[in-house]
Amino acid sequence: MIKFIATNKWFKDRHVLKNINLEIAKGEVIVICGPSGAGKSTLIRTINKLEPIDDGEIIVDGMYLSDPKTDLTLLRAEIGMVFQHFNLYPHKSAIKNITLAPRKVRGLSKNQATDRAEKLLDKVGLIHRRDAFPVQLSGGEQQRVAIARSLAMEPKIMLFDEPTSALDPELINEVLDVMTSLAKEGMTMVVVTHEIGFAQKVADRVVFMDDGEILEEGTPPDIFVNPRHQRTKEFMSSVFHIPIFDANQEED
């Protein structure tokens, strides 16, 4: 479904993606984790070409991203994206946020789009908030509307760029629940997150990135419990807030 071949990217002099090779199959849920500045967000944003790459190739659903003839609107219509800061349209109500793209891009009629949007709002548990404006919604609600907005295009792939990082702790679960149910329906998902619990439960594979490189990839237990690299070990110990290297300390 998604294939990175020797992908490189620079921001001026900074080498932000170093020789990325990664293949993601249809229906797979991939979690990308790693310290901040590792290039996780950049990596996920290259998939729908919000960030162009400088070298190598990315093939998404048979479309070659380095080919200038690739129709980006077609590509992006098939890829949903959820952002850290939700990016809902503040001048539109929840329902209109969701119906906008299906109407303007897919050419759905108002009724068709509204029906679809209502189903999705129901799915994310917000049908009672259909006419609320983004400022009237909590962070968790905004993010769920944002997920519904992406799903309204019936994408083949969903990208999540730190979807819960800007949320209050008690609002995180409502968003993760929606994502979990989505994963169970067989959606191909690429998720950048620090929510290790979610990753363990849902991810088929975890990719650990540091300094623009993929250091390790494997099943959640591989990465979280038995990481091979020293760097991964350090990161995991700080994420779990437990000194996993020192058994004695745990007994204290």
């Binding site: 919000l50 992006r76 890829i79 949903g80 990016n87 001048h91 906008l100």
Partner: protein, 264 residues
């Protein structure tokens, strides 16, 4: 009082010598301001949008036009148009049109900057969100960016319109009998009431300018519903700087003292 004495001239202030001659006075100022605004709106938006283009052959000419006009006093533009337009179109340009065209050129340059600033002020994430749902750049602009940019522009747009309205007084220099010129004529006709004449002109400009900004305030309140988080336009300083209303004394001064004390 002199000022009340000007009431006999009120029709001349407001309409000029209208039924017998051309429309003039305050009404002419309003007409010129509205027409200049109407004519310049499209051009201004286009210029502002062109300045954001990545293509240099679009960006540089629009930049040159805007910067030239902005670096020129309005009175200069009025003279240029007054002298050059008849030269180009063969001497058949009325004073009125020459004035409106000058004001429109001037307005277009300033409006383009308002449009540009408005577009830039929309957060980048909005464009990304729109593009990521498969919208083209054009659709993203039309349905996502511009509606928001317009709300951001509104206050600067209104203050510009008020200043454009007042700037219409400059065209008296080419002999148009708008409010300023009307006042000058009256003050010359009745030199003993010169102060009253100039105060009357001021009152005329003030009333219309004030009315425009009141209407605009209402419009902003209606259109800005989504923006509950920002400071209300009529907020006073104590509210938006989160200053305490009562002056605290003694121990309450430091923020740290407000926090619950640690158990000792």
């Amino acid at each position: 009082m002199d000022l009340l004495g000007q009431l006999v001239n009120i029709k001349f202030y407001l309409l000029g010598s209208y039924p017998k001659g051309d429309v003039g006075g305050l009404l002419l100022n309003i007409i010129m301001a509205l027409m200049a605004l109407g004519l310049s709106f499209g051009a201004g938006a286009l210029l502002g949008y062109s300045r954001l283009s990545c293509r240099l052959y679009i960006k540089i000419p629009s930049m040159a036009i805007v910067e030239t006009v902005r670096a020129t006093p309005l009175i200069m533009i009025i003279f240029w148009i007054y002298f050059f337009l008849p030269y180009i179109f063969g001497g058949n340009v009325t004073l009125f049109w020459s004035a409106v065209v000058s004001l429109a050129i001037y307005a277009a340059a300033y409006q383009s900057e308002i449009v540009r600033a408005g577009i830039i002020a929309v957060p980048r994430g909005q464009l990304e969100a729109a593009l990521s749902t498969g919208m083209s750049r054009y659709k993203a602009m039309m349905y996502v960016i511009l509606p928001q940019a317009f709300r951001i522009m509104l206050p600067s747009f209104v203050s510009f319109f008020v200043s454009l309205f007042k700037d219409t007084s400059t065209v008296f220099i080419i002999g148009i009998i708008e409010l300023t010129q009307a006042g000058i004529i009256i003050s010359q006709r009745e030199p003993d009431k010169i102060y009253a004449a100039y105060v009357s002109m001021g009152i005329g400009f003030w009333c219309v300018s004030f009315a425009i900004s009141r209407v605009a305030r209402r419009l902003e309140e209606r259109i800005g519903v989504f923006d509950l988080e920002s400071i209300r336009p009529d907020a006073c300083r104590d509210e938006f700087m989160l200053l305490p209303r009562e002056k605290k004394t003694g121990e309450g001064m430091t923020p740290a003292a407000c926090e619950p004390e640690d158990s000792k």
